[in-house]
Amino acid sequence: MHSLPLWLIPIAPLLAAALAGVLALTRRGERAAPALTIAAIALSGLVALGAVPDRPHPLAGTIEATWLSLPGGFQIPLGVHIDPLAWTMIAVICTVSLLVQVYSIGYMRGENGYARYFAYLGLFTASMLGLVVASNLFQLYVCWELVGICSYLLIGFWWSKPSAAKAAKKAFVVTRFGDVGFLLGVLLLVSAAGSFRFDAVTQFVQRIARGELASVPLVSAPVFLTLAPLLLFCGAIGKSAQFPLHVWLPDAMEGPTPVSALIHAATMVAAGVYMVARLLPIFAASPVAMETVLIIGSVTALIAATIALTQNDIKKVMAYSTVSQLGYMMLGLGAGSQGAGIFHLVTHAMFKALLFLTAGSVIHALHAAADPNDLRAMGGLFRRMRGTAVTCGIGVLALAGVPGLSGFWSKDAILGAALANGSPVALAALTVAIIVAALTAFYATRMWMLAFAGEPRSEAAAHAHESPLVMTLPLWILAILSLALGGWLQAGGRFTAFLTGTASAESAPIWLTGLASAAALGGIALAWLLYRAPQTASDPVTRAPGYALFAHLWYVEAFWNAVGARGTLAVGRAVAWFDRHVVDATVDRVGRACKASGQELRRETNGQVQTYAATLMAAVVVVVVIFTLYDRGAAPAQTNPPPIPPVIADARLKPAARMQSPQMRAKTPVALPIPVPSPSVPEGSSNGSNLRNNWGGETQASAYTLFAAHGNGERGDR
């Protein structure tokens, strides 16, 4: 154990999942899939066991490699960091995941996609382990999204069922919505602190809180201190199903029940709680952030507990109960106590997983019914499924916070932390917490009574039988943990000492403990009285004040449907209108304009020569006008013809300079005049300027003068 490397912890389940995925493609290898993933989980657990932080271990601590090295000095590390908090989470994840996988061997027997299920579970376990051992925000975020994907895959495991596919989509989109804020918070923190690592980031924030750093890039220091944790908390609101983003968790019950036990009770939804706990120094630097966590936690706890009263689906009751208990955990963290929040996370993981698995056992037994989840069709199962009923009862008592069981101790720690905080918000939260404790006890007992007490209310319930050992054994293990773990951890403040290194025991004063216990026992007693008798009339809960509001889920679903779903569709429709009528229309208009102009121009070619001639004349006029306007060297017109220039006597040409009469021709030899270009004056140029220069009558020694001389000579001769 000591020599096994730490990085096996997240990697072993990942490899097993990959192998199981390959097995899913074969037909005969399917049955081996659970063995792989369970072995991997056991291996991770063993490695973690050898790395308990309070024993010196050569490999405990942090091992890190640089994943990416960005220009500008930014390093993105990839690492495994084991400290008490991480170790606690690993213990929870490995235990619950192992038990759920053993349970699933029985629950999913004969299902289509058996190996695929275990592959997904292995992938989820690997991602969750990667999340809790992360040493930096980048790895945390990546694993955060990975568990979101696994949740999507597992909720939508029976993807051919439309409600399951919708629920998977809803879970992913809603948590993603929260993750926008989370990413912004991560980026803000990292850009200011210059590093992704947790220790660097928390130290940076603490330095700002102490006043050592005055300014931060992008925002001022006080704004930064408040904004960063609030943005991070957005991610926790989504992932840990706090109000108002809790709406995905009840729908997530469409997935197989072991999935609900693992992901939506014990581990994935605890990721948000873990993140807040890990970054609690950052939250603690801002009173506003802590108060926000407190308020949202208590509001969530209250709303979910009231809704759970009204539910008739056994898994929905548990789902809303999970939301409520997550609010409790946030309450503990917001009061400032990392120990209380994590303690409740641990105990809650145990008894909620237990409750879900027992619900799964009941559903499995009632598989022949029309709706096996419906509490109204159950009843009398105590006689038929003794083991399930007893373990479920233990879970209910733990959830309710009956003194002595694990839930009691962890709730006590939270109440104590809220009281110790002392601020008005914390005290209000404390009041809410006590009310919620009573409500929790009531609805949990109601659920148990409706399912197990009384007489069977349907055929399927009458023929139910106990589940096989592979399913009931995990139930008993979890039941023992729910009974004993809380007390063992709390004794002497052992857990808090382990977690935070201080020896303070965070329990409430005796009067508060007594008050909370009274609330819990009162709730149990009331539910027992109301549901003891056979249910012939309507459910007593429908007569509770505010029932209509609770049964309509406080209209949160309706709100998100209107704003989120229909609102987004409306925006989409507006944008589509713009695209169709503005963008496309512009393109169409350009095309149509081309076509129209073509049609217009077409009229010009009418085949008639005179039209073409007219066009030509117009063009000529334009050209002439241009030339006239731009040719400024116009010479004045002459009124009188210039005088005819005299004969130029050119010595070279003299003998042939005269056109001779036949008589003269006989006398003198003829030399044909050869035009000799004069070098001084350019000849033969068609340049208008040359001609213009000669308008003054300037003559040139050229052949022209030759002929002029002839003409003159001829005239002179005649």
Partner: protein, 101 residues
């Protein structure tokens, strides 16, 4: 008399010729207009020659060639008109629009 007068006369002749080309329906009348235009151009050329370079001989030759070309042009044009009449049965220029569109 002045150069201007000649230029004006030739311009007027050119204009009348253009008008005839553009307006008359009868193809032969169009050809007449073309003749007028050519003659106007010749007249213009001659005016410039006489007033600016009267000693030169080349412009005269140019004009003579121009007149010859005009004559050849008229001959060919009439031959074309004959063929058109043979093909279309009419010599009204606004009926001959096969190249329309």
């Amino acid at each position: 008399m002045g150069l201007n007068s000649y230029l004006v006369v030739s311009a007027l002749l050119f204009g009348i010729g253009t008008f005839a080309v553009l307006t008359r329906r009868n193809a032969i009348a169009v050809l007449m207009g073309v003749e007028l235009m050519l003659n106007a151009a010749n007249l213009n050329f001659l005016a410039f020659w006489r007033f600016l370079h009267p000693a030169a001989m080349e412009p005269q030759v140019f004009v003579l060639i121009g007149l010859t070309v005009a004559a050849a042009d008229a001959a060919v044009g009439l031959a074309v008109v004959l063929n058109i009449y043979r093909d279309f049965g009419t010599i009204e220029v606004n009926r001959i629009d096969s190249l329309k569109g």
